[in-house]
Symmetry: C2
Subunit: 590 residues, 2 copies
Amino acid sequence: MAFEQDRRFLVHDVLDYSGHYASLDFPDAPGRELIDAILDEVGRFALKELKPLNRIGDEHGCTLADGVVTTPPGFKEAYQKFVEGGWASLTGTVEYGGQGLPDSMSLFLEELLCCANLAWAMYPGLSRGVLEALESHGSADQKRDFLTKLISGEWTGTMCLTESHAGSDVGLARTRAEADADGTYRITGSKIFISAGEHDLAENIVHLVLARVDGAPDGTKGISMFVVPKFNLDGTRNQVVCGAIEEKMGIHGNATCVLHFEAAKGYLVGEENDGMRYMFTMMNAARIVVGLQGICLAQAAYERAAEYATQRLQMRSLSGPKAPDQPADPIIVHPDVRRMLLTQKALIEGGRALVYFAGQLIDLVELGKDEEIRDEASELLDFLTPIVKGFLTEVSFESINHGVQVFGGHGFIRETGVEQFLRDARITLLYEGTTGIQALDLLGRKVLMNQGKGLIRMITRMDEIAAACQSALPDIADALTQLGKQWGEVSFAIGVAAQDDPEEIGAASVDYLFYSGYAVLAYLWARMALTASERADDAYGRGKIATARFYFQRLLPRTLAHKAAIEAGGASLMQISDEALTSGLSTPVR
Amino acid sequence: MAFEQDRRFLVHDVLDYSGHYASLDFPDAPGRELIDAILDEVGRFALKELKPLNRIGDEHGCTLADGVVTTPPGFKEAYQKFVEGGWASLTGTVEYGGQGLPDSMSLFLEELLCCANLAWAMYPGLSRGVLEALESHGSADQKRDFLTKLISGEWTGTMCLTESHAGSDVGLARTRAEADADGTYRITGSKIFISAGEHDLAENIVHLVLARVDGAPDGTKGISMFVVPKFNLDGTRNQVVCGAIEEKMGIHGNATCVLHFEAAKGYLVGEENDGMRYMFTMMNAARIVVGLQGICLAQAAYERAAEYATQRLQMRSLSGPKAPDQPADPIIVHPDVRRMLLTQKALIEGGRALVYFAGQLIDLVELGKDEEIRDEASELLDFLTPIVKGFLTEVSFESINHGVQVFGGHGFIRETGVEQFLRDARITLLYEGTTGIQALDLLGRKVLMNQGKGLIRMITRMDEIAAACQSALPDIADALTQLGKQWGEVSFAIGVAAQDDPEEIGAASVDYLFYSGYAVLAYLWARMALTASERADDAYGRGKIATARFYFQRLLPRTLAHKAAIEAGGASLMQISDEALTSGLSTPVR
């Protein structure tokens, strides 16, 4: 994979993953060689088997006939090889046949798959949510019945949350669950937007379904979680029917299904009415993965754009010909093309660093040696999760858009392949909670309802890195120190305003998410530049430091605009009448 | 059309178009009633005939078989009605059967067509470039032979500039022209990305082709322009062959063709080797239209999003239920949904005002009563053209992206219809010169090579409006005054830096384009707010003023980020090695 050098730099030099693994309460810590060996092998698999199917998946899409979904040519064969290679079970519990590696390893795996073929990677990817939920909250019987096959990859999973009238507002879900005498439930209702909801890759599909037991309270307090397999344990077909596959803007290779549950047999996970809590177990893990998906698509687009920029000859450099023996210079000589490439590089490599940093926190929450370590990791991870999901998907979309732009008119042509990444990426800003939902989670729950615990931890980390940068990179050190101080002040001011008017939270939220995202990436760019400055003085390290400076000089100032927007406050949004806001196009319900 | 009220406000109240028409050196100035009557009628045509075909065009696309292109169902019938209605000839010269209205009227017409169906509107839209070029530079014979049919709409036109290796760098074009004994030329070569290059809507297609006469100088100095009809004047088929239609990200309803000219008969326009000058005649007009296309698609997406926001029920307002008798509140109550809608409204209405302002300048350049008026208009229009094209398409794309986001997951589904606008809009950032090309044109040619003439005119206009706003809208007046001063300083500083290093121009250019775009929109929002403040105090006017304040408080501060990026200078882009910039993905040609 083309980002192998960057991965090694982050995993070994910046984040010292083998030291991290050795620090965990974990018997067989994988060392540097094993990490590289596993990931290099997965990378080869992804390049050979999945990448060639990426455009095929986009062109063919999935088809539904007589309730049976056919995936694009080659998808099924590649999945069989994936399962046979044992890749599905990398981080699964040893007790159920998994290889038991720390969870962060599954992020590295996911990255390699998604960079090659997002639509394909979502089929095994969706299983992780089911695994997380059952491992944390399932009964012994449920673990026995479902985990082994899910871990091996013989079966895949789904998350069935959304209904046509209940998207962000899961509490409006109407799907019903009626208790049967044998302790199971009959599930009845329709779910939409179910990724990998029906397909031909695996023998069975295990649906995790949110439903309402008869007599349950209204809203989120009456939501329960059920396991509903496509085929029952006795091999008979359960009453789960794929009613349609959605025609979408992108990820055509993944079947997005309407699923009808027609008194389907379901098994209650944990306690009745406690489903929302379990949902967040799987949702938080999924949100990190979605942030990573954005970065992967951005990486794929950047690779194409970087190659094109060195090959495409158009116009002469303003400072004189750079390739005088050619009819024109390669477009990489033009400052604005460099700006677009550097923006991509800075956002992608910064974003990747954030995901890998979050990967360590995921490990530490579960396997940290003592409570203080686990608590700190938990607070930081809670705080960073909406930033990984909300911010990284937004800047990845921007990054891909630059990638398309580097191609000029050719970027709009399907054959070039880069526009697919833009279409595929658009979903990452929406599913598993829109950017707006992430922003409310960050500012409302993770900062204001939590006395800023995670934020304070993060600013402390920033100050530590700023101090460490002081001698080698004083410009970056000073900028980071100032940023941390300002971030705290901005957050505090919103908290004060929100005490008088809760609408201030929503009015600031998305700008606060962006502000925070740029701040977190500044921290990671400072860490990367610091590591690079401590290495041997080579071209790679100099490139890292130059990119860090580009980030601080040309991207971080976007925080100024977001700060101003936050400071404009709720009045700037709430005072205008609904009629004027919609230019009189429609009559509001209220 | 849904923006009728906004159009009337701009045309009559803000820009006093009937007064403007009366001021021109023009016999039959259309008054308020005639303007409205014409545009209302076109709007009805567009809503009835074109809008229903928009998604059909996207789904069906165009097909090529045996050199014949078939457009989507209904496109041809709608085009016939368009021609029969006389709409094609609105602004055509009276001498050749046109109705002779001022050119700005064609912008209003274009807006109505593009809001309903961009892919369709491009078929008659492309004719305008040919008309402009022939009216300005064609011979008497050429005008006689081609103008009447083009003006009536019986024939359509194309612009054949791009070759596979010659995009932004038109000077690399290789298409050859050999003089024949009869004074015509034989044109040989292949052109790509030819919008409406072949289709079944009209009897004949008139191609304007850039080619190189044998022995012509290299580069742009050896480019000549030719008229090459699909059918010769004697009715025989000319040797222009459609070799392929491109599969694209969007505008599927418009045929983007590869055209092969195989010793096709062509007529030289004007003088040999003077083709680039004529190309800019049509290109400048086309660039204004492309900026408008962006706004039109943004308007279409905003209409959908605004309606959805008032109908979709999800979650309760943080300040308490607003629709207590419903299961949830309409999402328009949520501050972040309002932020997305207001951003769309502010960018669209500001952008529309800019296009209408440019429309007056277009009229004044040609028909202004005295030289001073024509000169001022010409300098302002030259300066604003790259902003209209480059900035408005970029912010329109952002605006549509917000429109998709308002829909949540439903925005990603094709059936909802809003994602089509995002796909369609992507081309507007690329064709007729990418954003980067516009930015170089603005900063290099229109500001630095021109001693900032247009910029100074613009800042003068800003100061006038700031003074007029002082009593009613002092906050806006002060912000506008400061902005004008800062804009001048930022521009001057780039000029100083560029004297030492020409790369500073490219390094600043796109950020300067954005900075300037936000500044120009601030001017227009101040004008709109001022007009609204002078009207009767009604809901419409209050909405305008609230939107202006939103613009100044929450969008204009983006200039801070662009200013910082400009000030980072060329070193932030040029110092990094090509290898590091591309993460070693490819070996540069240089």
